[in-house]
Symmetry: C2
């Protein structure tokens, strides 16, 4: 998928919501636990209930890995289900990988060949040759960590170098030499309001993947005020608030209700900017 196609989807669906599939076996409704593939059953319910409210799904790979072979199978079934039933969705593997070249190649193979994801999140610490193997796949994306939503972001990402450039700014500017804004996005946490202007100064044209709305305390309005660009340029993720809206047989309807609330807020923002009419 190209950046233009993603923007078209956003306008058509009146949403730039990404639903994070952080599907936790200890939190899903108990009635699903007796099914053969509980995580997949849960995801299917969530996906069918939210697909018209969002433009992207983001399985958080840790939650699948932690279940071993069964979790890996549930991830496989989930990706296949979305591809078959909702082919316009942008599919992000939230994996935060990154290693020396021959190993990043293997991770790229995992997420772009074994699974047909559109994008994978990558950690920048190991530099250019840890990222470029993911960029060899046409129409596939790297979503590079720039400024994350957690407290620990301050430990290294805000470090200023000897000419006053902060680490997240260095990541933004160096990595633009590796790929265009049609193959690279950046993770910037919704909790990092005071830095959005600095991010947009370095990366005015790139899509940003924004986690941290909801359970982590980020605010959609504030994010949009500072981070929207000329083609929206945002995918805002919500996971726990949607997935665990209810813990009973109505979990999917409750998830839909939460997703709709976010989508309605996004719709107003998109209309205010003149990209859609209501």
């Amino acid at each position: 998928m190209t950046a233009n196609q993603l923007f078209e989807n956003i306008c058509r669906k009146k949403s730039f919501l990404c639903v994070g599939l952080d599907s936790d076996i200890t939190k899903i409704p108990p009635h699903l636990l007796s099914t053969e593939n509980p995580i997949f059953e849960f995801n299917k319910g969530i996906i069918d209930a939210t697909a018209d409210c969002c433009v992207a799904y983001k399985p958080n790979i840790a939650f699948y890995e932690s279940l071993g072979v069964k979790g890996w199978q549930a991830l496989h079934d989930t990706v296949q289900y979305i591809r078959q039933h909702y082919p316009d969705q942008f599919l992000i593997a939230d994996a935060k990988r990154g290693d020396i070249g021959n190993t990043s190649e293997m991770y790229a193979r995992t997420f772009f060949e074994q699974f047909d994801f559109d994008a994978v999140t990558v950690a920048p610490y190991m530099g250019e040759d840890s990222v470029t193997p993911f960029l060899r796949y046409p129409n596939k994306w790297v979503i590079l960590l720039a400024l994350t939503s957690n407290k620990g972001a301050a430990d290294f990402q805000l470090t200023e170098d000897n000419v006053g450039e902060r680490m997240f700014e260095k990541v933004l500017h160096r990595s633009q030499q590796w790929a265009s804004s049609d193959q690279m996005m950046y993770v910037v946490g919704a909790t990092q309001n005071e830095y959005f202007d600095a991010v947009r100064q370095q990366a005015p044209h790139h899509f940003l993947l924004i986690p941290g709305i909801g359970a982590q305390g980020g605010d959609l309005g504030k994010v949009c005020q500072h981070a929207l660009n000329k083609q929206c340029g945002l995918l805002v993720n919500s996971s726990r608030q949607i997935l665990y809206a209810a813990n009973n047989e109505q979990f999917a309807q409750s998830a839909r209700h939460e997703a709709q609330k976010v989508q309605h807020a996004m719709q107003s923002i998109l209309a205010e900017r003149g990209w859609i009419t209501l």
Copy 2:
């Protein structure tokens, strides 16, 4: 395993070699491809042939993931095989994970509960709360990336802050507030000779995991000259040079021959320091 136990193993086995199980389905001997679980069969051959030459094994998770469910199963079988037959081996998941707290918890669960690894490699970019969930397991280790062996290491790891501290030094000094040298090691590439003194200045007591010997061009003698500490303090990894020493039915014997060469060199170094007698 404690640092003392690891040092005891090193002295007893006269080796501080870690064999990296970067087991690549496209590189293993063709006669194994007709078996039911080729990667596991390959690993079993390598492990049986090298276990008396090394103190640690390090499966590179990317290579297993890239095969999907089958790869995950091969990893499971490999870990179980080592635990059953060679319980004194230190088992490292080379995974380079790291995410917000609730997600790192899941990764920790994967490698320390689903699999019984002793240690997992972690990327530091997301800071303290992305690392600490791995530290809640007694006797389990985090091996934090400090200065990696690849070219891209120069992109961000060597950046100097406004008081002249380089990023890898900041990682070394900050992270020592999170855990003792009985739960934390650091990755420092064998190719980073000029920085070993700086590493040992920041982290004199910690074990270092040293990749980059062999295919990546690092030199054992030079590494030891600068990086040995009072309790050896090194695990030196070799992967491709051992695994792919031969591509025929004698692959295991050839791997053993390569592992023995490294072990002999290590034995001399350990004897020179007076830790063992020959």
